[in-house]
């Protein structure tokens, strides 16, 4: 009954080509246009059916938008469309040099935490953001140019670790500021 066509991919919903590099502006714009049509605020004065449907549509558009907007989830989704499971929960075998780097990051965060050094922590935050961005570029090459999905999958797992680092820094900053 529901008129959402779930066989459509999120890329199709927003009229985009299925690739990692996307026209972010167009994603934003189409998302807003869809919400302008389906958002519950537009249906508040109508019947139950319409209100329910609008809620489902708006929820769906929000979900699809979030998946595509965030680079990590976009890569994960793209790999899923190519039939590749990123195995983030199960596959934790990481290259030794990467694990080494992770240890160094954690030590740096611990040190800043113990020293209660907000500036240091913020510097770590910006450095991490820079590194994550560089990895996103690499992800784009692997997915869009080389179609090397196994390597891309490995990089997604790495980025997941880095995302966790980001959360740790975030939490530490919150506690230090409080």
């Amino acid at each position: 009954m529901l008129s959402i066509d779930f066989s459509k991919t999120h890329f199709e919903l927003f009229g985009l080509k299925p690739s990692f590099q996307i026209d972010a502006e167009r994603l934003d714009q189409t998302y807003r246009e869809i919400q302008t049509q389906v958002h519950p605020d537009k249906f508040a004065h109508l019947g139950d059916q319409e209100r329910r449907m609008s809620m489902q549509w708006a929820t769906y558009a929000n979900e699809a938008y979030q998946v595509l907007k965030n680079p990590l989830s976009r890569a994960r989704y793209l790999l899923h469309l190519h039939g590749v499971d990123t195995q983030e929960e199960r596959n934790t075998a990481m290259p030794a040099d990467f694990l080494m780097e992770q240890m160094e990051w954690r030590e740096a965060i611990m040190e800043a935490k113990e020293a209660q050094d907000v500036d240091d922590m913020e510097a770590l935050y910006h450095r991490l953001r820079g590194e994550v961005r560089a990895q996103h570029d690499e992800l784009g090459r692997l997915l869009d140019e080389q179609a090397d999905y196994q390597a891309a999958s490995g990089l997604v797992r790495k980025l997941k670790f880095m995302e966790k680092l980001g959360e740790e820094i975030d939490n530490a900053l919150e506690l230090m500021e409080a």
Partner: protein, 620 residues
Amino acid sequence: MALLQIAEPGMSAAPHQHRLAVGIDLGTTNSLVATVRSGLAVVLNDENGRSLLPSVVRYTSDSVEVGFPAQQVQAVDPQNTIVSVKRFMGRGLSDIADAGHLPYRFVDEPGMVQIKTVAGVKSPVEISAEILKVLRHRAEKSLGGELVGAVITVPAYFDDAQRQATKDAARLAGLNVLRLLNEPTAAAVAYGLDNGAEGVYAVFDLGGGTFDISILKLSRGVFEVLATNGDSALGGDDFDHRIYCWILEQAGLSGLNHQDTRLLLTHARAAKEALTEHPETRITAVLSSGEMVDLTLSSEIFTDITQSLVKKTLNPTKKALRDAGLSVEEVKGVVMVGGSTRMPIIQQSVGQFFGQEPLNNLDPDKVVALGAAIQANVLAGNRGEDDWLLLDVIPLSLGLETMGGLTEKVIPRNSTIPVARAQEFTTYKDGQTAMSIHVVQGERELVSDCRSLAKFELRGIPPMVAGAARIRVTFQVDADGLLSVTAREQSTGVESSVTVKPSYGLSDEQITQMLQASHEHAKDDMLARALQEARVEGGRLIEAVEAALHEDGHLLKTGEGEAIAAKIALLRTAIAGEDHRRVTQMLESLNHATESFAARRMDASVNKALTGHKLEELEN
């Protein structure tokens, strides 16, 4: 009720009857009601021309006083005169940090605290409803008719329990809640539409008892909240309290009675307000013992004793910016909202933090109510010329308790609403047939550090080995920011669901009972009201369906138009009758008949939004 205007088939529909809708700012210190009249948002005044209604409620043995009369006697009858009740909404006694300093007789009920008054034990929901009732009557008198509904504003940082309590209060006051709207978002609407603003804006909203910071992106009529943060227990009251403590210290006072406490708090507030205009102010008061207080408070001392409070506003501001992924330089303007932003110390520190002069061109007391009125006007179906859209977020992460008392986040904070997310869990013991689902809200890792929203059980899971059952828990947050949770065992389809009425939320039956118990709603009145409401709703539906048929008649399938017309006729007959259940029944039946037509319309409009893009795509 007003007669419905029905257009001749084929003719363009007559301009719709203007539906009466209001926006209500239910504030900690003051409350206001506003509406859109002839396309312009205006605050509605009382018969004495005053727009603010002090959020003060006094109970006597046989009456309830709200607003100025209650405020005047607060020092005389502090136990029965409740000020700043908003601070207690959806809160337990242990949540109220300064409970010991307050003159009330608190009753520690599980979940939400209650207050013992001369008129009996009252819940914060009932007390707030008294304020809302006065505003509702003011609006109905001033607009000359019954309201279709109201948009009630809440602090953006209110959690689910506080939002639910606010909605319950509105319903108890006989209001149809069109939407709960976040206060800073309401302010952004009023400001943005007024100034044609585009770009990233911060709304800094410091009220009497709550603080919110929201970062919004305004672009071509879309108001998109990127991140929000705040403190739902920080506001002007805390600044008053610091002055009060300073007075006690300076005058060497202790163990004051309730009257004197209230008296000095009132003086503290007056002193704070005086410092907005003057570098220093004198505080003189005579206590009930005859003792004199005579002190001079300077801006420097005030700055000194409230510094930590100011810092408490800047930390959430930093967090919100970080969540939005933005730096201070990317913020184009800072809109100041809430009476407490008048304090020079706040103006200075906000200006310093953002490196720019804050925007003060809207009345900080009224801007929230005005924004809510604009939103209410749209939600009621009075469409304005310019189309705009609000995309808001949830302020706090929602999650579940997992093994070891840890929180598993299901929906992260700052997710755009409406939002739904599902997560799968499994059993941890062989043969486990029930699972307890504990829903929490907050950012911390330990469940004990988060707010508990609800607990419910999924029973009837078929016995399996540990880890074999697959239980899918779905969270759905609606456009009011309210959560409902469903749990379902995947292999058998055993299901259990709960709309998160926090353990202390009022059930629908309780609200009905309370409505029945109040003087205003005798039993006959209840029936009359139910009929009246059903009629209004039925009328609205007919109008909506006819407008839809008029716009998109070409989407009808053979025979469908006739079937719908027949249901409309039945509903119209029911509306003319006296049985509210019949009206509701026919209303549902019309809803059902239009189901697939509505789906096709939705499809068509989404396709319309996408058409332009599909063409572009082909060119690539």
